[in-house]
């Protein structure tokens, strides 16, 4: 790999042709694009290269959790368009692929179409999903014990294929298939009453979605009817074949609690069907309406088997046991209905009225039967528990907005939103209640304006304010004000300044909650693109953000209220300077407060046209994470990348 990287890195030295961009062609568009040697039937480009990572210092697992770019030969990008001049099987086919060769997110998309006959699209994505952060998962970290708990190293892959028949006609049938999988391994925790044991686990889940429908298009009316079905399965196994002392190695009531052997398996199977209807219409030039209705009903069946032996403690019986077996079967059903309706009316030239209504209703009902067999002090004990659970959520929203063009350059906005809902959930056993219920009632006032002074200045401001009498959770938005202002000003044809300000204040004065939350973000950006940015372009952005959160919580062991406070003051900067073949920049993030963190990502890149249809790229990047309180998670990495891009 390093040989390939060296060859790629030295490629420009051997280049004999006069660089194509010496003629003044823009950097991103080499002349090859204009005159394809392959002719019009095939155009595109392909970029291949190699990444070398000389060092990853510090926590490799955190590096993989945060960055996860790897070494080796890569296909960075491929982009082809095929045209059939005789229009036999297709008119045009587009193929786009990016980041293959061990990259954390690979994708390929194929789009083939023949006008008025068919359109076939296929999309594939493969995502490396890795997470292992000791400060998140390890309860003994403050005692200096580093355990492998709650980590996973998995791959998600997603495939979508859709075939449209007779596109462009008033009626277009379509069929589609989506296939998603996740598989991999990790560490999870097997928990018993007085100890927990990190054990190896394997994940495997899969979802298939089948759908078909009819789309009907007239000039002013559109309807879509779709019927779909989903099947899914979710399997997880955990195992341990050697003695595992667990996190609690101190004797409990004179005995050590340990795990000798474990075999644990979840097996979940489910399916769902759904019906979806969409419509949109512009019956008159001054009104649009649209709406959507979806009903789905997933059902699942679950089985769970666990067999373990070692030395464990059962709090309910106040006895130790050596062998345990759990067998569980369960079912769940979740009918889910959603609907929305929108209307936009422009009764006068200056006025727009937007009406929006939506509802979302879910009712989860389930039951489970658990049988437990234990070997207590040499004698078997069998118990069975039957459990039923319920979750009902109803949410609705109604909003009316008025937009009035007060002046040709000023639009005023005002509106009102009403959100309401109710929910019932199974209460935790400790409450002594069977069910808990919550309600939501929220009235929101909406205001704002849009200001446009020619093509130079644009300012958009939105604000919301509300009082709520009932919310679902202690941390929910209760009495809040939300403001967002963003503006753009073109100082000259080559200079642009943008600003962005957002503020969210929320509080719940209830004496048992006393929640006070504030989040603020201010951002200013500068763009300099002389002569359209063909030779030089500069952009710089600075953002200052702050979060302040105070809320009462009960310290569990004394049931006494105390403040939970969170503070974060962050500074983020990004910059990118591009001068002909050369670009540099990067970003930084530095915060103080509850979790002081610094994260730096500078980069330098050179892109040189070396032959008529070839461009050479080289790049250096650095990733550096520093956390003051969790320095064991710090990492630093330099990365070198070289690639060549061929244009057809």
């Amino acid at each position: 790999m390093k040989i390939l990287a060296t060859i790629l890195a030295l490629l420009p030295v051997f280049a004999q042709d006069k660089p194509a961009s010496a003629s003044g062609a823009p950097l991103q568009k080499p002349p090859a694009e204009a005159a394809s040697p392959a002719g019009e039937w095939l155009t595109g480009s392909i970029e291949i290269g190699d990444r070398v990572i000389p060092n990853i210092d510090g926590s490799f697992n955190t590096y993989r959790s945060v960055v996860n770019l790897g070494e080796g030969a890569k296909l960075f990008n491929a982009d082809f368009t095929l045209r059939d001049p005789k229009h036999r099987f297709f008119d045009q086919a587009d193929v786009r692929a990016s980041d293959f060769g061990g990259e954390p997110y690979s994708s390929v998309r194929v789009d083939v179409r023949k006008e008025k006959v068919y359109r076939l699209t296929a999309d594939y994505r493969n995502i490396a999903y890795f997470n292992f952060l000791p400060s998140y998962a390890d309860p003994l970290l403050t005692q200096g014990v580093a355990l492998n708990e709650n980590s996973f190293d998995t791959h998600l892959s997603s495939t979508d294929v859709q075939l449209e028949i007779l596109p462009g006609h008033w009626i277009t049938p379509y069929l589609a298939f989506d296939h998603n999988t996740q598989f991999g391994r990790g560490i999870t925790v097997f928990t018993t009453d007085v100890n927990e044991f990190p054990v190896a686990t394997q994940y495997s889940n899969q979802t298939n979605n089948y759908r078909g429908g009819l789309r009907m298009d007239w000039s002013r009316y559109h309807f879509t009817l779709e019927q779909g079905g989903t099947t899914y399965k979710d399997d997880q196994g955990a195992s341990e074949a050697t003695a595992n002392p667990g996190n609690n190695t101190a004797p409990f009531l004179g005995q050590t609690v340990f795990l000798n052997q474990l075999s644990e398996l979840y097996r979940v199977r489910g399916d769902s069907y759904y019906t979806k209807g969409l419509f949109a219409a512009s019956p008159v030039s001054w009104a649009n309406i649209s709406g959507q209705f979806v009903f789905s009903q997933p059902t699942t069946t679950t089985s769970y088997n666990a067999a373990s032996n070692g030395n464990f403690y059962l709090s309910d019986a106040a006895e130790f046991f050596t062998t345990g077996q759990d067998i569980l079967t369960a079912d769940a059903k979740l009918p889910h209905t959603s609907a929305s309706f929108n209307i936009e009316i422009r009764p006068f030239k200056r006025l727009r009225i937007l009406e929006y209504w939506m509802t979302d209703r879910q009712h989860n009902a389930s039951n489970a039967l658990l049988t437990e067999n234990l070997l207590l002090g040499g004698s078997p004990l069998t118990s069975a528990q039957l459990a039923a659970d319920r979750l009902a959520v109803n949410y609705s929203q109604q909003e009316v907005d008025l937009l009035y063009d007060l002046l040709p350059w000023l639009t005023l906005k005002g509106g009102y939103r009403y959100q309401w809902g109710d929910s019932t959930v199974r209460a935790p056993v400790l409450t002594g209640l069977a069910l808990e219920s919550g309600n939501l009632t929220r009235h929101v006032g909406i205001g704002g304006f849009t200001l446009r002074l020619g093509q130079k200045l644009r300012v958009i401001a939105d604000a919301e304010g509300t009082t709520s009498s009932e919310v679902y959770f202690r941390t929910s938005l209760q009495n809040y004000e939300k403001t967002h202002i963003r503006g753009t000003y073109d100082l000259s044809p080559s200079w642009r300044v943008t600003g962005d300000f957002s503020l969210l204040d929320n509080n719940n004065p209830d004496p048992s909650i006393r929640s006070d939350f504030s989040s603020k973000m201010e951002s200013v950006s500068l763009f300099w693109l002389p002569k359209g940015g063909k030779l030089v372009n500069v952009l710089a952005d600075y953002t200052r953000s702050s979060v302040r959160s105070d809320i009462l919580y009960l310290v569990p062991q004394i049931l006494s209220p105390a403040d939970s406070s969170y503070r974060e003051n962050g500074h983020t900067g990004t910059a990118a300077v591009s001068i002909k073949w050369f670009s540099f920049g990067g970003s930084f993030f530095k915060s103080s407060g509850s979790r002081p963190t610094a994260y730096y990502q500078p980069m330098i890149r050179v892109s040189v046209p070396v032959y008529k249809h070839m461009m050479w790229n080289a790049e250096w990047r650095y990733y550096g994470l520093n956390e003051r309180f969790y320095s064991f998670e710090n990492f630093r990495s330099n990365q070198l990348l070289a690639s060549i891009r061929f244009f057809l």
Partner: protein, 309 residues
């Protein structure tokens, strides 16, 4: 509550009245009138633009008689162009990119409303018609711009020119990998509108778009964690980026949990859901500072009501 219900009733009646009014006054679709000149005349002066336009999907309008603009594709958006062709005066022709945002959107949505796209259905203009379609889509693909961006890095660059503060959040260490070009904004959002808040895309019919990738969190679980359904992922996570591992909203994981699970036992004074705290847990012990070490199935469990397995 009565006032609230009254507000709903008023809004519903008002909406229905407007709809009825709109329907009653609906006139038949007026055919485009005026003095049209045809695309060939446009091409004579704007050949470079026309040649690029020919390679875009919109060129289908030129040859498709059913759409009503055969040989008049330019004027399907720019309006009648005969006067402009005669005088050469830019003021004599409609330039959608320079109209007010809702007017531009109206031209586009006349054909595209409800059209399926890779990121979802086009339900309307961006930001309630305040940002016109032409801000993101270059219709003629002039100056190297594209009609539709496909590569994640290009999409992200496009979105971040306006959503600067959101882009700043992605510079934090724990985030979705957008700065690496591994994902794009439209993987989660449908900029053309959605019935979910924050123009979120949806998955599997009507579930939150997060489940497109995180489908192991979908369920339905036998034992649901209520915030998953009621407030969504953002109840605990900051999806754009966070200084805290796993994009949590707090620096210590237990505080994420205890801020909700802190109601007084039995009294439920504040009328909120969350139940009592786990009274037998000793937070002085580091063992109890990371709740998900035991409650590993925090998003929902198929087998355990306490979400422990």
């Amino acid at each position: 509550m009565a006032a609230s219900a009254g507000g709903f009733y008023f809004n519903s009646v008002a909406g229905a009245a407007f709809l009825a009014w709109a329907t009653c006054l609906a006139a038949s679709a007026a055919p485009a009138s005026g003095d049209y000149t045809g695309s060939e005349a446009c091409k004579a002066c704007h050949e470079e633009i026309f040649n690029k336009f020919q390679k875009t999907p919109h060129y289908a309008v030129e040859s498709d008689a059913r759409r009503g603009w055969e040989h008049n594709s330019c004027e399907s958006c720019h309006g009648p162009g005969a006067k402009h062709a005669e005088s050469g005066d830019a003021a004599e022709i409609r330039q959608p990119a320079k109209l007010k945002a809702p007017e531009t959107d109206r031209i586009c949505l006349n054909c595209h409303l409800n059209t399926r796209t890779p990121v979802g259905r086009i339900a309307g203009g961006h930001a309630k018609d305040e940002i016109p379609c032409t801000t993101c889509h270059s219709i003629h693909e002039a100056n190297g711009a594209k009609l539709v961006l496909h590569r994640p890095a290009e999409v992200n660059a496009q979105c971040s020119t306006c959503h600067t503060s959101q882009w700043a959040s992605f510079q934090r260490p724990y985030k979705h990998r957008l700065p690496e070009g591994a994902m794009s904004c439209v993987d989660c959002h449908n900029p053309h509108g959605s019935f979910r808040p924050e123009t979120m895309r949806y998955a599997f019919g009507n579930e939150p778009g997060c489940l497109n990738c995180h489908n192991d969190k979908r369920g339905p679980f036998t034992f649901e964690h209520a915030p998953m359904r009621m407030e969504g992922c953002t109840a605990c996570h900051e999806p754009h980026g966070s200084a805290n591992p796993r994009m949590l909203a707090r620096h210590e994981q237990r505080l994420v949990c205890l801020e909700c699970h802190a109601n007084l036992p039995l009294l439920n004074q504040a009328g909120t859901i969350g139940g009592v705290p786990p009274a037998f847990h000793d937070l002085n012990s580091s063992r109890f500072r990371n709740c998900t070490v035991c409650h590993v199935k925090i998003h929902g469990s198929y087998v355990d009501r306490a979400l422990m397995r």
